[in-house]
């Protein structure tokens, strides 16, 4: 989906804040991901055009950062830390059990991540970048299910608050 007029205006506003337009690349990629649930090829081309870059450069930058997904991954990204403080507090087991639990659920993407700077909550999990911890496997499933049911309101797949126009999980 290409930029709508409103989106283009918003994008141009973002660009205008920076002394140099290319600095708006990451914010625009976030914006595109908020909208589509991942960074689509079309969005990369739109952004390239807006910033006067080639799509190759946009892809080059986009593919460097782990938060940007370039294929659909579902509405909920569950990030489980397994770095050392979580490792010694059960992170690996947590990720294994969640992976198994949601293996067939297209809505939920479970990924093992590096330290998310919340080691006092180890083992820690983020659901669309909202922190939860310490969690047992059961508690984690409970939280994820609450997001699925809407009892908890999830952020976007890029961690932005859900606002009009962005893709509600």
């Amino acid at each position: 989906m290409s930029f709508s007029d409103t989106e283009r205006r918003r994008a141009e506003e973002i660009v205008a804040r920076y002394p140099h337009s290319k600095s708006a690349l990451l914010p625009l990629l976030h914006m595109a991901q908020d909208r589509d649930g991942y960074v689509t090829g079309e969005a990369m081309k739109d952004i390239a055009e807006l910033l006067g870059l080639t799509p190759a450069l946009v892809l080059g930058t986009c593919s460097f950062y782990t938060m940007f997904k370039r294929a659909p991954i579902g509405n909920l990204v569950v990030s489980v830390c397994t770095n050392v403080s979580c490792l010694v507090n059960g992170g690996p087991a947590l990720v294994d059990s969640l992976r198994a639990r949601y293996a067939d659920d297209e809505d939920v993407h479970v990924e093992e991540v590096e330290c998310v700077a919340a080691c006092d909550l180890a083992p820690v999990m983020q659901v669309n970048y909202e922190f939860h911890g310490p969690v047992t496997s059961e508690a984690a499933v409970d939280v994820i299910e609450q997001y699925k049911s809407g009892a908890l309101v999830a952020r976007t797949i890029s961690g932005s608050p859900v606002i009009a126009g962005s893709k509600a999980p």
Partner: protein, 440 residues
């Protein structure tokens, strides 16, 4: 053990847990932007001097004198930029995360003061992408600051203009390195750059740029609120003032503790953090983030002093202390840290790009009973081309410190348990051989 924290930059957020991040609360109960009002009445140069007087050293990891860094700006080159490093990615560090979510105004205020001191009219807070709530609160704080005349044109009638942008990253540790951060802020792959030129001379958009950590900015606010001299009255040696330490791992009360520098590891770990969890014995601890070489129980009475840490062959780094009990296999920890670095290497330098992956692969087999007798020596062998000398501070064959840091865990393994590990590897290899079946 009766140990007390010294709350300077965490005082307010501890006091008002329910709304410390909100403008009204911060203004009313913490005199937020009071330091700014004071600073704007001073000459920029006087501010630089005040911060130099405080002895404040960067809280991002490198521990460089903050006022000194500011004074390195070439005198006549404008524009200049300020980039506040809120990318907090060093494993087990979670102090900036807390400051961002719970006292964003202190950061914004320190950033404005710093921008004024260095005469920058554009400042950026480069925020770790995964801090979703942090982004919201920091953004709100910035908007409040604009709304109340602390940002924008002619701040508080001083004639000083400043635009402050909260810029979200998108998941990458290396954007925490100051030059990686600048590349990322320019919309590039967050690749660190060759130094010199240093950012203070040629940074963002090739203009002079100061990069400072979030905690550093918070401390600046309090230094201006009180005085440089007052700040320098705390601490030990050349490690002055207070610092927040993130304590985690196998401890009873993981958390952030703000203490005067010079406090001992024991006071921090056993006193404030409640000691090793479940009454187990301490096996080892990592004193300054995943990059730093490890310490043993015998070092518990050493002071939290950056220069003493260097003498011990390690560093206080980002202030992240990871505690491991007797049941933890250090090889497993070494592997997990290696895995982190392999995942986060930007890929620019050959030794780091290739070496970190190799390191991870060998440590993996070592940690999983699949080691070979010569593995530890193999690591030390090629590792010497990644961190020449295998000591701390390391020699460097790469652009940034990530490269040599990858070797810290392995060097520590060898230093403390070398013989033990070699014996274990030999046994592993022997056992594997007896298990081997000849393929049909």
């Amino acid at each position: 053990m009766a140990v007390k924290e010294t709350l300077v930059i965490t005082k307010f957020l501890r006091e008002r847990t329910e709304d410390s991040w909100e403008y009204a609360a911060a203004r009313e109960h913490n005199n937020a932007y009071g330091a700014l009002e004071k600073a704007l009445k001073m000459e920029p140069a006087a501010l630089v001097e005040e911060v130099q007087k405080s002895g404040l050293r960067g809280r991002g990891g490198a521990g460089f004198g903050t006022g000194q860094k500011w004074s390195f700006l070439p005198p006549d080159i404008f524009p200049r930029y300020l980039a506040v490093n809120a990318d907090e990615g060093e494993p087990a560090t979670f102090k900036d995360h807390m400051l961002i979510e719970r006292d964003p105004h202190q950061i914004v205020e320190g950033s404005i003061i710093t921008a004024y001191a260095i005469q920058a009219h554009h400042a950026f807070i480069y925020l770790r992408g995964e801090f979703a709530l942090g982004a919201e609160r920091l953004q709100a704080a910035v908007e409040d600051a604009y709304a109340n005349g602390f940002l924008g044109k002619n701040i508080l009638g001083s004639g000083f203009d400043l635009e402050l942008i909260v810029h979200r990253g998108a998941g990458c540790y290396i954007a925490g390195d100051e030059t990686g951060l600048l590349s990322s802020l320019e919309g590039e792959r967050a690749m660190p750059r060759i130094k010199p030129p240093f950012p203070a001379v040629q940074g963002l958009y090739a203009a002079p740029t100061i990069v400072n950590n979030v905690e550093t900015m918070s401390a600046v606010t309090q230094i201006v609120n009180n005085s440089g001299e007052w700040y320098a009255g705390m601490g030990v040696g050349k490690s002055l003032g207070t610092r927040i330490f993130s304590v985690s791992g196998n401890v009873e009360r993981p958390g952030n503790y703000e203490v005067e520098l010079g406090t001992t590891f024991r006071e921090l770990i056993e006193g404030l953090a409640g000691g090793v969890k479940g009454g187990k014995q301490l096996k080892f601890f990592i004193p300054g983030g995943a990059s730093s070489p490890w310490l043993l129980p015998e070092h518990l009475d050493e002071p939290l002093d950056m220069d003493r840490a260097t003498e011990l062959g390690t560093m206080l780094g980002s202030g992240a202390i990871m505690v491991f009990d007797e049941t933890v296999d250090p090889v497993l920890i070494a592997w997990r840290i290696a895995k982190f670095f392999a995942h986060e290497s930007c890929g620019k330098c050959t030794p780091c790009r290739e070496g970190s992956g190799w390191l991870e692969k060998v440590l993996y087999r070592m940690a999983n009973g699949l080691g070979r007798a010569e593995d530890l020596d193999l690591l030390l062998g090629f590792g010497n081309n990644l961190a020449p000398g295998l000591s701390w501070p390391p020699g460097q064959t790469t652009i940034c410190q990530l490269g040599p840091s990858t070797m810290s865990p392995t060097v520590s393994l060898n230093k403390y348990w070398g013989d033990e590990i070699r014996a274990r590897l030999t046994a592993d290899e022997a056992r594997r051989k007896t298990l081997q079946v000849t393929p049909a």
